[in-house]
Amino acid sequence: MHIQYEVLLVVKKVRQRKQDGTLYLMTERIAWGPEGKDRFTVSHLYADIRCQKISPEGKAKIQLQLVLHTGESTTFHFANESTAMKDRDAAKDLLQQLLPKFKKKANKELEEKNRMLQEDPVLFQLYKDLVVSQVISAEEFWANRLKLSSTDHFSSNNNKQEVGISAAFLADIRPQTDGCNGLRYNLTTDIIESIFRTYPAVKQKYAENVPHNLTEKDFWTRFFQSHYFHRDRINTGLQDLFSECAKQDEKGLKSMVVQGVKNPMVDLLSLEDKTLDEGYGSLTGPSTSNSSKTVKENSNSAIIKRFNHHSAMVLAAGLRKMDTSSDQASETSSTDGNSRDSDTFQPPIKKVKLQEAIEYEDFQNETGPKTIALKLKKFDRYSHGPVPLQSHHYSTSQDIISSVSCIQEEMSCYKPCLTQVMSSSAASSAITALSPGGALMQTGAHQTVSQLVPVDIQSELKHLYTAAGELLRHFWSCFPVNTPFLEEKVVKMQSNLERFQSTKLHPFQGKIQREYLSSNLISHLEEMIQAAYNKFHAWQMRRMMKKT
C-alpha cells in the first residue's frame, strides 16, 4: 500500500493473532503483514498510538503490545526463538524514540474534548446545535470551554489527598548490630521523605551539603551519629553538622509558644482569673531552682519538649498542603473586598467555642447539618437581586408625599354621585372579568408550559434556550470591547446570532405556528436576542461616531 515510506526496521517471524508475519516500522507508521502476502493487515499511525507495553521478563512469550488512543490494542508475539528478545528490544527502542515525536498535544486535547462531550449530555447537545449545524466554528466553541475545564481538571487533580506521615517513622529505622561493633540503620526513601517533610531544617542541610561536601551515605551516617537524632540530647557540640537544626527547632518551638493558641478554651495562661501575687500561696513540693536541677532532670525535660515538638511537626507536615490552599482561598476572597464584610457574618472563634461548650446535644430539638455562614459582598444585592438601572423611574419621597396628599385632598371632597352609577349588570361583568379566570385575569391563572406544550416541543425549546444562552454568553463576554480581537469577535458573534435566528429560531417558530401553539413561547428568546442586537447597534453607532 504505502511502500513509498522509508522502512526503518523489519522484524521477521512476528506473530499476530496466531499468524506468522513480518513487522515493519516506518517513518510514520507501524505495520504488519502476514507471511507470504504483500499487504498489511495491521497498520497504525504512530500518532494513533497511546503507548506500548512489553511482557515482563522471564515470561515464556515475548510480546509487545500497542495501545491506541481509541482503547484498542494490538499484540505482537516475537516468535524467533533465538533472537526473540533482541528483536523485541530493538522494536521497543525504536518505538520509544519515535512515539514521542508524534505524540502531539492535539491528541490529548481531542481526547479531552471527546471525554467532556461524552460525560456531559447538555454540552453534547449544545455542540450538536451550534457546531454541527455550523452556527459557530468548533474552535470558537471550545475556545473558553477548555480553559474552564482545564482549570477544573487541574484543581481536581490537586485535591488528591496527601499521605500523612507516620508519627513513628524514626522508630522504623531500627538500628541493627552488624556483628562487629557497628550499627546498621535501614533507610527507605519513604523515611527520608518523612524526615525531610517533618524537619525542613534537615532538608536544607541536605541540600547544602550533598553532594558537594558529603556523599549521601556520609550525610545520613552523621545524622544518626549526631545528637540531633537522639531526643535526650542536651546541647549539641558546635562542630556538629546539625547543631544549627537544633537551634532552628528551638526557635520554632519558641515562636509557637509566643504565637499562643487560637482557641481561648485551651489557653491555660488566661484560664485563671487572678494570679496570686508573688509570695502568696503555698508552695507545693520542694522548690527547684535552676541551679539545683540535675543533668538527668534536664535531659528528661528535653525529651518531653522534643516529643511535643516532634508531634507538632508531624501534625503540621500533614496539614501543610491543606493550609496553603485554604490560605489562598481566603486571600482571594479578601482581595475582592470580602474580608470586611465577613467579620460581621462569621462570629469570632471564641463565640463559636463558647456556644459549642454550652450546647446540650440531646436537648436540642433539631440538630440540622451545620451550615456555613454566608459571606456576602453586597448585602442589598443579595436581598433584592440586580435592578436594571435604566427604564426605572425613580419617584422621590417628595413626589410620594405630594401624591399622597393629593389623593387625600381628593378623597376629602369626594361625594358619591348616586345618580351616575353603572348598571348592576355592567358592574358584575367587570367583577367577573377581574376575578381569577376572568377575561382580564388570564395571565394570573397561568397554565404552565409543561401542561400546554407537547414534550418534543418542550425539549426542543430547552435546547434552543441552552444554545441561545451559550451564544449570548459569548456575545456579552466581549463587552467591554477594548481590543481589536474583541471587536472582531463581537462582529462575528453578532453574525452568529443572526445565523442562529434564521437557521434555528425561525424554523421552530414556523413549526409551532403550524401546531397552533401560542407564539409567545419564543418571545422571550427573541427578546434576549433583540437586546443583544440593540447593544450591538449602540456599540456600532458609537464606534462610527468616534471614527468620524
Binding site: V261, L268, G279, I358
Partner: protein, 752 residues
C-alpha cells in the same frame, strides 16, 4: 418548658430535661426556702449550671424581697463566660415565653486584663503589668495632678466613667466580658470600673472565687454586697485550697532583700516630702489619730461582708501612736525586717504557732502585737500619702506587712510554720479556713456544688459550717456510657502501683507503658493519661523512651506532654485537639493537680479514655502539709489518713471525670493502681462513678482490661439516638409529670 417545683414556676429553656436536673432543683429550692447552706454533688455534663440558674432566677422573680442577688462564683475565665452564655439563653427564653422585656441585670466581672479597653494598657500580656499600668493612670493623686499639669497622661475611659458613669445606670441585660467591653467602647467608659460599680445593683453577678474569698481583693470588690444574696460556688471541690492559698505567705531571702530596698526608698521619699510638703504628712497624721472612722461606719450596718484582714478592733481603735508618724513607722518596719532576716538565718526547721511567734518577736525586738495588726493598713495609708504610683514595685513590703497583720490577727485556728532549709527559702504558712466563715455568716444561702464532692460530709467539716441540705445525685443513663476499670496487675502478674516503695520499679514502669501502648491500639481518637506528679511523669517518660515504648506508641498515636510552662502546655493542648479533630488520634500525658486536670474538659473524641497512673497523693513529706494535717486533727478531729485519701481520691475523680461531659459522651476510665480496689479508696469516689464499678472490674490484668475495653468501645460506637434516651434519662414535660417518674426521681438524690 415550664416546671412546677414545689409550687414555684420555673422556666427551663429546653424542651427536654434530665431527671436528675429536676431532682437537683428540688433540693436547691429547699435550701433556699430554709435560708441555709447546701452541698450538692451532681456529675458534670448533666446541666448543673442551667438548673441552678433556672431555679434561682425563678426564685428571684417570685420572691424579689427574699433573694435580691445571685452571686455565682466559678473557677476559670472560660467557665465564667460559659455561665453567662447559659444565662443569656435562659433570659431569651423568658422574654420569648412571657413577652415581657427583660429587666434583669446580670454581668460578669473579671480582672483588668480581661476587661481593659485602653489601647496601650490592654496590649500588655500579664495581669500584673495591666494592673500596674492602670493604677499609674487612674490613681487619685495622678488625676489631681492633671488639674495643674494637663500633660499628665490619664485614662480617658476612666475619666469619662468617673464623670458620668455613676449617675446613669447600665441598662438591664446580660453582659458577658465582651459585651461589657463593647458597651464600654460605645460609651467611652472603663468597663472594669463600670462592672465593679454595677455589681452593687446587679441581680446576678458572675465572677471568680477570689473576688469573694481572697481578703486582699474581696475588700475592694465585694465589700458592699447585700446579705440577702445567694452565693453559689461551682466546681467547688478545691475550695479549701483556694482559701489556704490566699491566706498563705512565702517569704524568701530575696523577698527580704527587695523589702530592704523598699524601706530605703520609703525613707528617702519621706525625707524629701518633709522638706517640700510637710503639711501632707501632718494631714495624714491627723487622719490616723481620728482612726479609720469611715470604714467603721460602713461596718456598723452589718449587712456588709467583713474583711478578715481588717479585723473589727482595728476599726474601733485609732492607729497606735508608735507607728503613727511616717518615720516611726518606717523604723518599725526596719526592725520587723531585721527580725525576719534573723529568723531566716536559722538552718533547722522551726514550727511554731502564732502566739509563740508573737512572743518571740516581742522578746527579740520588742514589737508588740497591736502595731503589727495595723501594719497593712498603715502601709497603705503611707503609700497613698507618698503618692507612689507603681504599687507593683512595693509588692515585697506589702507582702511583709500583710503577713504581719495576718499573723497577729488570727491567733486562733491558725498555725504559722516558719522554717528555713538549706535552699534559703522560708515559708510562713497559715492554714486556716477562717476565710470561709465570714462568707457563711454574711450571706443567707451558700451553695457549694461540683461534679466531685464525695465524700460529702467532709466539706462541712473542713470548712466549718452547717448545711441544711447535702445531696449527691447520680446520672441516669440509658446506656452505661462510662466504664471504670481498675487495673491492678500487668500481664506478668506484677502488681501495679505508684506506691513509694515500688514506683521506681522497672516492672511497674514497663507495665504502665504496656497498658498505655495496648490502649493506644484500641481506643479511637484521644487518650488522656494523668500521673501523680510532674517529677514522676518526667521519670517515667524518660524510661519509656529508653525502653522504646514511646516509639511504639507513636505508631498508633501522636504524643503530647504537659510541661511546667503554661504557654508551652497550651500549645501542646491545642495540637492535641487538632490531632484528635483530624482523625490522627493523640495521647496527652498530664499531671493530676496540674492546670490541665483542673481546667480543661475533654469532651467526646477529645477524650475517649482517661488513665490515672497511680493514686495522686500529695507530697506527704511537705512541712506545710504536715502543719495542715495537724491542724485538721486538732481542730476538726479529721484523721490524717482520712484527709489524705479524701484529697487523693477527689483529684483522681476530677481527672477521670474530665472525659465524661454529658450523656451522649462516652469514655473509659482506667484506674491503674492496685490500691483503688480497696474499699476505703473506692468508697470515696463520687457515687456516679462508684455505682458502675462492678466486682468483675476490680483487679484486672492488662489483657483483661483490653478485652473489656474493646467490648465497651464496640458497644458505644453504635448509633445513639434520642429515642433511646427518652423516658429513661431524658424526659419531656408529660413524662416528667407522671406519678411513677416522680417516684423514681425522688430516689436519685442521696442524702448524705
Amino acid at each position: 418548658m415550664k416546671l412546677n417545683i414545689e409550687g414555684l414556676l420555673v422556666y427551663f429553656p429546653y424542651d427536654y430535661i434530665y431527671p436528675e436536673q429536676y431532682s437537683y432543683m428540688l433540693e436547691l429550692k429547699r435550701t433556699l426556702d430554709a435560708k441555709g447552706h447546701g452541698v450538692l454533688e451532681m456529675p458534670s455534663g448533666t446541666g448543673k449550671t442551667i438548673s441552678l440558674l433556672s431555679l434561682i432566677v425563678a426564685y428571684q422573680k417570685a420572691y424579689p424581697l427574699e433573694v435580691t442577688k445571685l452571686i455565682y462564683c466559678s473557677r476559670t475565665v472560660p467557665e465564667i463566660e460559659k455561665v453567662v452564655e447559659e444565662l443569656r439563653k435562659l433570659m431569651d427564653f423568658y422574654t420569648k415565653e412571657t413577652g415581657e422585656k427583660n429587666n434583669f441585670l446580670a454581668l460578669a466581672l473579671s480582672s483588668r486584663k480581661n476587661l481593659c479597653i485602653h489601647p496601650e494598657v490592654s496590649s500588655l500580656r500579664f495581669g500584673k503589668e495591666v494592673d500596674g499600668k492602670c493604677h499609674s493612670l487612674t490613681a487619685s493623686y495622678i488625676r489631681a495632678e492633671r488639674h495643674s499639669n494637663p500633660s499628665q497622661p490619664v485614662c480617658r475611659f476612666y475619666e469619662e466613667f468617673d464623670a458620668v458613669g455613676r449617675q446613669v445606670p447600665i441598662p438591664p441585660g446580660i453582659y458577658n466580658l465582651d459585651d461589657l467591653k463593647e458597651f464600654g467602647r460605645r460609651r467611652g467608659w472603663c468597663p472594669y470600673y463600670l462592672a465593679r460599680y454595677a455589681i452593687l445593683h446587679a441581680n446576678i453577678v458572675v465572677y471568680s472565687y477570689h473576688y469573694l474569698l481572697d481578703p486582699k481583693i474581696a475588700d475592694l470588690v465585694s465589700k458592699e454586697l447585700a446579705k440577702k444574696s445567694v452565693v453559689v460556688f461551682d466546681e467547688a471541690h478545691n475550695i479549701d485550697n483556694v482559701c489556704i492559698d490566699s491566706m498563705s505567705v512565702n517569704i524568701t531571702r530575696r523577698t527580704l532583700d527587695r523589702c530592704q530596698a523598699n524601706v530605703d526608698t520609703l525613707q528617702t521619699t519621706i525625707r524629701r516630702i518633709k522638706e517640700t510638703d510637710a503639711a501632707k504628712l501632718q494631714e495624714e497624721y491627723r487622719r490616723l489619730v481620728e482612726g479609720l472612722k469611715e470604714t467603721s461606719a460602713a461596718r456598723e450596718t452589718d449587712i456588709y461582708m467583713s474583711n478578715p484582714i481588717l479585723p473589727d478592733e482595728v476599726l474601733q481603735e485609732a492607729v497606735p501612736g508608735n507607728i503613727r508618724t511616717a518615720e516611726h513607722f518606717v523604723g518599725f518596719l526596719k526592725r520587723f525586717l531585721e527580725y525576719l532576716k534573723a529568723r531566716l538565718r536559722v538552718h533547722h526547721v522551726v514550727q511554731e504557732s502564732s502566739p509563740q511567734f508573737l512572743k518571740d518577736i516581742f522578746e527579740k525586738v520588742c514589737i508588740d502585737r497591736k502595731p503589727l495588726r495595723f501594719c497593712a493598713e498603715r502601709l497603705r495609708s503611707l503609700l497613698r500619702t507618698l503618692e507612689i504610683a507603681d504599687i507593683a514595685d512595693f509588692s515585697a513590703i506589702t507582702l511583709i506587712s500583710n503577713f504581719a497583720t495576718l499573723v497577729s490577727t488570727y491567733s486562733k485556728g491558725k498555725r504559722a510554720a516558719p522554717y528555713s532549709d538549706s535552699t534559703t527559702s522560708n515559708n510562713v504558712k497559715s492554714s486556716n479556713y477562717i476565710l470561709f466563715q465570714p462568707v457563711f455568716e454574711r450571706f443567707q444561702s451558700v451553695v457549694i456544688t461540683s461534679g466531685t464532692l464525695s465524700p460529702l460530709d467532709i466539706y462541712p467539716r473542713i470548712l466549718d459550717f452547717h448545711p441544711v441540705t447535702m445531696a449527691s445525685f447520680t446520672m441516669t443513663l440509658a446506656r452505661t456510657c462510662l466504664c471504670p476499670l481498675i487495673v491492678g496487675r500487668g500481664n506478668d502478674q506484677v502488681a501495679m502501683s505508684s506506691k513509694f516503695e515500688t514506683r521506681e520499679d522497672f516492672a511497674v514502669i514497663r507495665n504502665y507503658g504496656n497498658l498505655l501502648l495496648e490502649l493506644s491500639a484500641v481506643v479511637p481518637d484521644g487518650i488522656v493519661a494523668f500521673f501523680t506528679s510532674y517529677v514522676y511523669m518526667e521519670n517515667i517518660v524518660a524510661s519509656w523512651y529508653e525502653q522504646g515504648i514511646l516509639e511504639n506508641i507513636q505508631r498508633n498515636k501522636l504524643i503530647f506532654i504537659e510541661t511546667q510552662d503554661a504557654a508551652e502546655t497550651s500549645v501542646a493542648l491545642e495540637k492535641y485537639q487538632e490531632a484528635c479533630e483530624n482523625g490522627r488520634g493523640a495521647i496527652l500525658l498530664s499531671v493530676a493537680r496540674g492546670k490541665v486536670s483542673e481546667g480543661i474538659d475533654f469532651v467526646h473524641h477529645f477524650g475517649r479514655a482517661v488513665i490515672m497512673f497511680g493514686v495522686p497523693y500529695v507530697y506527704t513529706q511537705s512541712r506545710i502539709l504536715k502543719a495542715r494535717l495537724e491542724y485538721l486533727r486538732d481542730q476538726y478531729q479529721i484523721r490524717e489518713n482520712d484527709f489524705l485519701t479524701f484529697d487523693a481520691m477527689r483529684h483522681a475523680a476530677q481527672c477521670v471525670g474530665r472525659a465524661i461531659r454529658g450523656k451522649t459522651d462516652y469514655g473509659l476510665m482506667i484506674f491503674a493502681d492496685k490500691r483503688y480496689a480497696r474499699a476505703d479508696k473506692r468508697g470515696k469516689l463520687p457515687r456516679w462513678i462508684q455505682e458502675h464499678i462492678t466486682d468483675g472490674s476490680l483487679n484486672l490484668t492488662i489483657d483483661e482490661t483490653m478485652q473489656l475495653a474493646k467490648h465497651f468501645l464496640r458497644q458505644m460506637a453504635q448509633p445513639f439516638r434520642r429515642e433511646d434516651q427518652l423516658g429513661l434519662s431524658l424526659l419531656t414535660l408529660e413524662q416528667l409529670q407522671s406519678e411513677d417518674m416522680l417516684q423514681k426521681i425522688s430516689q436519685i438524690a442521696q442524702q448524705a
